[in-house]
């Protein structure tokens, strides 16, 4: 019994020490301005720190633009701007790009940036074992020359108007570094502090930064696997900002509260009902159009996200230069849907299987689709699958009738130009437009062609674009200067000010 009492005393002592140890709840640093530490809450922890080795969107969020920089950067509103490239010249035939690097750029290790680093960085993305999503886009690179330390000359095998945009995904790394997965030696306004896996990743201001220095002293990313825990952290001031709210349920507690600001930004994530256009009955355009017209997307969006999110009527999100509101094409009209089904030879409807990923919002949306389509006589069998099964069954084997998926990238309408992509949309005219757009001489020409392609896929109901996710950043009202659109999950932290 004595031992038990001793243990009890020990526990009590521990709690007491704990209670006195630090201020309860909030751990936010109290100092504001340039000395402030910005506490960022996120659900996207990096897998590792290498964006060519499967680092995931977490590594983009934490390091892109903060620790690593590219020759170009994608701004929060979707524009491509020069960053490490001070100047660029494109040859008449559009095949040779000559970039002049910013002078006096240093890596965090102190090494000066040279053209050799840029060359090695591009080659890391196109390497055989690269896991970068931009690998296939950059395969147009034929050769890279480095005539002097500050000049990079890239020769392409064919014109690629997106080349500069694609370069904004290429991090310029120190080519003599040996470890890219746990360390980071970039040229950005922050250097990597400590990464406590499963918990936090710290960035500290880099004093030798070549450009405009960061407006805060450091940034700590706190990682959560549980959305409730993340929101609780914001409520208790353990974090100052949440990079991306995953559901609208939690927003009520922040909305009416003047201590917080709820930002309704534009994401690039589209929720798709993707038909397998190569499998009957979805080979028929009328069937796809009918199903598109039978589903009330506004109602679906409201039921999932309340007042947030947008219905866009196609694949192109508003931050892409070729965005147009196409919601009027194949708009919601149950009678028209019934007529089209009858015309296509299905007056009594038909039955199909919808492969539905087992995580939110897919199951909810699938149930909604099922009830909407029942009104036009179409029966939906919901087949729930894991993310992994989706990748194997749907993405690789194309073994499905219809599926649902969220497509997160910007400028990804170009997949409709690839007839081998999983949804099997094959319209020669669209493929041609998209190819031509890539070969275009000016961005105006590219934009015009992609607008045409986008309109055509909407008319053909290549897929049914259910809605565009909102991008909701919730922050303490003491914070300003944070990005609200979070394109491709990037989160530039250098302009954030805490008052």
């Amino acid at each position: 019994m004595k031992k038990l009492l001793a243990s009890l005393a020990a526990v009590a002592a521990l709690s007491l020490v704990a209670a006195c140890g630090s201020s309860g709840g909030g751990s936010s640093s109290s100092s504001g301005g340039a000395n402030a530490t910005i506490q960022v809450g996120s659900v996207y922890e990096p897998q590792n720190l290498d964006n060519t080795a499967g680092g995931g969107q977490g590594v983009t969020e934490a390091l892109n633009g903060n620790v690593y920089e590219g020759l170009f950067k994608l701004t929060d509103d979707g524009k491509v701007e020069p960053l490490l490239a001070k100047d660029q010249k494109v040859s008449e035939d559009g095949l040779t790009y000559t970039f002049t690097l910013q002078p006096n750029v240093k890596f965090h290790s102190g090494k000066a940036l040279t053209s050799a680093d840029v060359k090695a960085s591009i080659e890391r993305v196109t390497a055989e074992n690269s896991k970068s999503a931009r690998k296939s886009n950059l395969e147009v690179v034929k050769s890279i020359a480095t005539p002097d330390d500050s000049t990079v000359v890239v020769t392409l095998s064919k014109r690629s108007i997106s080349f500069v945009y694609n370069l904004s995904y290429v991090w310029v790394v120190n080519s003599s570094a040996s470890d890219y997965t746990t360390k980071a030696d970039g040229t950005g306004p922050y250097k990597l502090g400590e990464w406590k896996r499963g918990s936090t990743l710290t960035l500290t201001k880099f004093d030798g930064y070549w450009g405009t220095p960061a407006k805060n002293a450091s940034v700590v990313f706190h990682y959560y696997t549980d959305a409730t825990a993340l929101n609780n952290a914001l409520l208790t001031n353990a974090v100052d900002v949440v990079t991306s709210e995953q559901s609208p349920d939690a927003l009520a507690q922040f909305k009416g509260n003047s201590s917080y600001k709820v930002n309704d930004g534009k994401s690039t994530t589209k929720l798709l009902l993707a038909f397998n256009d190569k499998v009957a009955p979805f080979t028929k355009v009328e069937v796809r159009q009918a199903l598109t017209q039978a589903i009330d997307k506004k109602k679906l969006l409201t039921s999932i996200w309340g007042e947030y999110g947008t219905v866009i009527g196609s694949m192109v999100p508003p931050t892409d230069p070729w965005y147009e509101d196409l919601t009027s094409i194949n708009a919601y009209d149950v009678n028209a849907a019934k007529a089209k089904l009858a015309a296509a030879g299905f007056p009594n409807g038909f039955t199909f299987t919808l492969d539905t990923p087992n995580y939110d919002p897919h199951p909810t949306a699938a149930t909604f689709i099922k009830s909407e389509l029942a009104k036009v006589g179409v029966t939906v069998n919901i087949n729930t699958i894991t993310a992994d099964q989706w990748y194997t069954k749907v993405y690789q084997k194309h073994d499905f009738q219809a599926t649902m998926q969220e497509h997160v990238n910007d400028r990804d309408v170009v997949w409709y130009g690839d007839p081998t992509f999983y949804w099997g949309y094959d319209n020669k005219q669209v493929t041609q437009w998209i190819d031509q757009a890539e070969q275009a001489k000016t961005t105006d020409e590219q934009t015009a062609l992609l607008k045409q392609a986008n309109k055509q896929i909407a008319t053909d109901a290549a897929s049914d674009w259910l809605y565009l996710y909102p991008q909701i950043v919730v922050a303490s009202s003491k914070l300003s200067g944070y990005p609200v659109n979070g394109l491709n999950a990037q989160f530039y932290a250098y302009d954030i000010v805490k008052s």
Binding site: V17, A18, N48, A53, A133, A238
Partner: protein
């Protein structure tokens, strides 16, 4: 005792090996390929093939197993397929959260359960004995994560006296903050654990109370309390040790579950992440360490029982 120890150790090693085999086989029965978790939508078939080759998931199962087992014997738990980090150090880095959480919760559970369970037994016929028993019954039915959420709502969100979750970036170097962040998780696990423990203690004490030797002790003039203290508790200790060993193992598993509610960077978080990404080496590593812990605690429990009650040695030897 030596003979017993040798035999029991052999059983321990055998069970560990069987557990390792079962783990490996069961995980490989799951559908899916870890290469998928590594690649973005838009990956080319060539990229997928290269990834599979790199991860070794295109090798025959037996080859994968032999490689893994060989590494295991040399103390190497393998390398994460997704993060590319070695699993051993990754697990070791999580222990400073999970181990203190487990031990503190266990101690707290015992501290609460032994007196309360004894009281519930001794006063089984009084109203508070009945109430205690009912509360314990209720506690068993409540899931740990729910208790955790409730405690967070009250102590972190309403009263704001404790953090809602997380662990200081510099760990136990900020001792106060680290201990503070473990208070609610410890209480959560302890509350749920003590509920079932109370019922064990109560049953054990009730059984002993009805035993003949206690009646004899009483008839020889011992007071009820003295009889229970001198003769009863030692006898009740034997089944309680077995239960404690089991409970310590359960506490460990409970800690692993509760970690994600409190965003603690412990083994639980590592396991959940590993599972969602099909990261076999990570899942195997965490599960193996957990299984080994449970088996080892069981082993120690068995040995402790025989120290308290040497009669068991002869019984098992015959």
């Amino acid at each position: 005792m030596t003979r017993y120890l040798v035999r029991r150790t052999a059983i321990l090693i055998g069970s560990l090996f069987l557990a390792a085999v079962a783990l490996f086989v069961l995980l490989r029965l799951l559908p899916g390929d870890p290469a998928n978790a590594l690649l973005p939508v838009g990956a080319t078939p060539e990229q997928i093939e290269v990834a599979r080759r790199e991860l070794g998931t295109n090798e025959p199962l037996l080859t994968q197993f032999v490689t893994w087992l060989g590494d295991l014997f040399s103390g190497d738990l393998g390398t994460s397929l997704i993060s590319t980090f070695p699993v051993g150090p990754e697990i070791a880095a999580r222990l400073p959260v999970t181990v203190p959480l487990t031990l503190a919760a266990f101690v707290l559970a015992v501290v609460v359960a032994v007196p309360v369970g004894t009281l519930a037994a001794v006063r089984a016929d009084r109203w508070y004995g009945v109430v205690l028993n009912a509360v314990a019954q209720f506690g068993i039915a409540v899931p740990a994560f729910w208790v955790g959420l409730l405690l967070v709502t009250v102590f972190a969100l309403r009263l704001q006296v404790l953090p809602a979750g997380g662990f200081p970036p510099d760990g136990w170097a900020s001792f106060g903050a680290a201990a503070e962040s473990l208070v609610l998780p410890v209480v959560t696990v302890a509350l749920v654990m003590s509920a079932s423990l109370i019922r064990y203690v109560r049953a054990a004490v009730l059984e002993v109370r009805g035993a003949d030797y206690l009646r004899t002790a009483r008839s020889l003039g011992s007071s009820p309390a003295r009889a229970l203290w001198r003769h009863g508790l030692r006898n009740a200790a034997v089944p309680v040790i077995a239960v404690l060993a089991m409970e310590l193992a359960t506490t460990f598993l409970g800690a692993v579950v509760v970690e994600s509610v409190f965003a603690l960077p412990g083994l639980g978080g590592l396991l959940v992440k590993g599972i969602s990404e099909h990261d076999f080496p990570v899942i195997q590593g965490v599960m193996l360490v957990s299984t080994a812990t449970v088996l080892l605690v069981g082993f120690l429990g068995d040995v402790a029982q025989r120290l308290v009650d040497p009669r068991l040695l002869h019984r098992s030897a015959s």
